[in-house]
Amino acid sequence: MVTRELLAACRRGDPKAFEEVVRRTHRHVYTQALRLVGDRHEAEDVAQEAYLRAFRGLPGFRGDARFETWLYRIVANAAVSHLRRRGRFGQPTADPGEDLATDVEAASRRDPSLEDQAVDRDALSLALAELPVGLRIPVVLKDVYGMSCREIGEELGVSEGAVKVRLHRGRRRLKRALFPEATNDDV
């Protein structure tokens, strides 16, 4: 967690303070980037871009929200810009997020605490990785990182209503993947 003292040190001009901020947040930033773009190398690019933006935007951060919340938004913005540059929006069936799926499996194997948790969580991570990017981004930003549909709409350049529709579709796909036995219950 990034404390007020650490941010105050950044503002006082302590160059080690920003390094400490990166040290404390980089795994969260990388994870969010990977969940959004679905590719390890691209996630690193997004993380780098996000820190550059955070570095430049630091004077504008006045502490109204938690620093982590502010940083999540910057990562989301960097990821969306990245995907847009790569032309990966508007292809609802492309982008299976293979790296993300592999990493989630690998993380489950490496971390025994994850194996102890319900199998559903791993299955959920895999299902999330396999969602098309146009559905994955609203679900990740809303349900994992707590952004509002309005904020997501601003990032994606679409209406709040369009975000809600994608969110609904994404959640329905995830539910079907997680509870295949209940698929017949779908109306």
């Binding site: 990166v22 993380a47 490496r110 349900d143 994992v144 329905r172 539910k175």
Partner: protein
């Protein structure tokens, strides 16, 4: 209310954006399939929120690469500029405050004086001293 109408509202109900009430609540009380569907959505949304703390392992050396992107010297220079900007802003605010304050005081002083001179016009002049009247 039909199952189809209720199902459309289940994800929002599951995330707490809506409270089951009225016809929806009645339907859920009598329809096990829709209630089960609501429980699935709730489980899904809870698990998604929990993913925020499930961190994926980056490739080795990511931290070094991220820090190299913004080298220490550049960080130091940048942060010095941030501090200088902040001091400049504070100074500008202080000067601005003094100017606004002085203007307000000046305006009040001017209005008070103006009101004083206007009111004097209506006041009758004092009578001439008695000695002067006698000499006339």
């Amino acid at each position: 209310m039909t199952c189809e109408e209720v199902r459309a509202q289940l994800p929002q109900l599951a995330e707490g954006g809506l409270r089951a009430a009225g016809a929806v609540e009645e339907h859920l009380a009598g329809c096990e399939a829709c209630s089960a569907e609501l429980r699935r959505y709730r489980a899904l949304i809870l698990e998604l929120a929990a993913l925020r703390e499930v961190l994926l392992e980056p490739a080795e050396g990511l931290l070094g690469r991220l820090l190299a992107e913004v080298p220490e010297e550049r960080r130091r220079r940048f942060l010095e500029r941030v501090v200088a900007d902040e001091l400049l802003h504070r100074a500008a605010f202080s000067v601005g405050g003094v100017v606004v304050g002085a203007s307000a005081i000046g305006l009040l002083w001017w209005r008070t004086n103006r009101r004083g001179s206007v009111s004097l016009e209506g006041v009758p002049r004092p009578a001439a001293p008695a000695a002067d009247a006698a000499s006339i």
